[in-house]
Symmetry: C2
Subunit: 357 residues, 2 copies
């Protein structure tokens, strides 16, 4: 099912599913019981553009910290809980906005009912989140370590909730294998209208993790699958948010700030394109209005090739041109190209803003 | 058409298409006429794992350097030519392994015939490479700046070659938009059995370029589309090769060296997972045998969750475990975890090698 056709759930004031914008999540790496450190990290994630923050609640000490954390931030917060239903009740009580718990793992149906009732009473959803590392033995034996096993494992948890008439659900099926992740979500999307939370699990250190997540999450988003995403990196969670936003921009699902389009360097380039592109990227990083800005190496082909861009520069030997929507608006010495482009954009940005009373 | 079912072409000793492994390409950023610098860059690309290198041949000075470059390296070399058929003839004469040229742009059919004949005589393929910035006006008017226009533009060039009975062809259709790139290649793959060269054009500076390329190229590769890839970055071309190989590893198309699987950091982790994962990644970077190595934060769940990994460590409070195929093989103080893991792997690596006489 295409994301537009899924149900919509709400995590605090963030709608997930249906026609809602795809949201970016991350997870704190602090000890949840360290309220100060956790709130500082939530604030850092919020500044980075994160929409939803998840916290691990592995024990009572963490659970006791939840009310203070809830008081300290307006960010939509998800409590991540394994096995212990009392921790889930504590999170719901504390005013958390969602619970991630797998009902098949918390013991009796009575316990699940208590959790589902608490979530209903507080109007908060449950994320069923399965991953390739924790598929039950019987499903592993039946399906092997396959996407089919992941999907069957998710359905088992979902059915427990549905039997209790709880359907305020979001689902994730993460594998550390990108092809398996993509296959599992595709299989799931064929059969459900619950919104899907996308991620590749244990994706690794920054570089490889960004590549795996961009490929896996990107492929699904491009197919219309997925309503919220988390990039998992063994790195500062702020990096997860940066990567998540970059994936949404790359797949055309978020237009925000400057999108730099620049040639690869090739033997035809007569200017130092790498420095130029990096300088422009850096100087325009605070602009929030969506703008496509081209940094091109060929004065002959540049403006035409980048006609879709809002602004651009193309360098030649010593001199370059400044262009706007494919039309040349000025010639500038190479050394001043970046500055002239940045000045033009910031001037028009201010002009645009000054229209607002 | 799935990549396995495409025709196979040969760029030097690299087979492209059919069941051949997906190859990684890059392009020199040196001035081609600077033979020494170009050969040095080709060598750097080769060490980085590049399979095919392209050089821009924009003028006679560059063309004159081709024989000396050809003599200086065994790497499969592609000459990138626009408009001037004589430069293409020079590249074929110089012993280059492929020509990238769009026959619709070089003037008369007689000129195309000369190029096709020279390629036939030398047994080298032609890549038809269209991109979103250079779609002919009439196609833009008919289709707008769409994936359909890209595909129509590619067919126009292909038909010119087919009319001359030249079918030793590879095709690329690059857009600076990831969704358009994916759509264009999917449309093309439905209609042709020529092998496809994948890329997102003008992808930008390193970070965003890697995300765009991983999403676009990754999505296609995961669908079974694409026989050779180039990541275009406004950065050192060695970075393009690094990213290309990472995309192949992420999509399961190349197993080479160590694949680190590591948890995201979360409030359940009791060790410094980021440093640990980075240390292990760095220390094992020279191992070429494919190995999945897990670096996990939970001593309880780690070995089980990472049972698919060849080796792994999982950290606890002060102490961690070393495991192999999900079985714990030792307990180690936290400070020695990375070293113990690396030692185990290198020892077995040497053991494995010593079997070879």
């Amino acid at each position: 099912m295409n994301r537009e056709n899924t149900r919509t759930i709400h995590v605090g004031d963030v709608a997930v599913g249906g026609v809602s914008p795809v949201s970016v999540q991350s997870m704190c790496s602090t000890k949840t019981e360290n309220v100060e450190a956790t709130l500082a990290q939530i604030a850092a994630l919020e500044s980075a553009g994160c929409n939803i923050v998840r916290l691990a609640v592995p024990n009572e000490a963490a659970a006791k910290a939840l009310p203070a954390i809830r008081k300290g931030t307006k960010m939509p917060l998800v409590a991540d809980i394994h096995f212990d239903y009392q921790l889930a009740l504590a999170a719901a009580d504390a005013g958390f906005d969602a619970i991630r718990i797998n009902p098949g793992n918390i013991g009796s149906n009575d316990r699940v009912r208590l959790v589902a009732d608490a979530c209903k009473a507080n109007g908060i959803p449950i994320r069923v989140g399965v991953n390739s590392g924790s598929i039950p033995k019987d499903l592993l034996e039946k399906y092997g370590a396959t996407p089919e096993a992941l999907v069957a494992s998710a359905w088992r948890h979902i059915h427990i909730l549905e039997d209790l008439n709880f359907e305020d659900i979001c689902v994730s099926l993460k594998s550390s294998s990108v092809p398996d992740t993509v296959r599992a979500y595709r299989l799931m999307a064929e059969k459900t209208d619950y919104p899907l939370h996308l991620g590749v699990t244990e994706a690794g250190t920054s570089y490889m993790g960004v590549v795996k997540s961009s490929a896996g999450i990107g492929a699904l988003l491009l197919d219309g699958i997925g309503s919220t995403i988390r990039v998992s990196l063994t790195a500062d969670p702020v990096e997860e948010v940066k990567a998540g936003i970059a994936i949404l921009k790359a797949t055309g699902l978020r237009r925000e700030g400057v999108d730099i389009v620049s040639c690869p360097t090739c033997g035809r380039t007569n200017i130092d394109l790498i420095s130029l592109a990096n300088e422009v990227t850096e100087k325009l990083k605070d602009i929030k209005t969506p703008r496509t800005v081209a940094v091109m190496g060929c004065i002959v082909n540049g403006p035409g090739e980048a006609r879709e861009a809002d602004y651009g520069i193309a360098g030649g030997s010593g001199e370059g041109v400044l262009f706007k929507k494919g039309e040349i608006v000025g010639k500038v010495p190479e050394a001043d190209l970046a500055a002239a482009l940045v000045e033009l954009i910031i001037r028009e940005e201010k002009g645009a803003n000054s229209i607002i009373p």
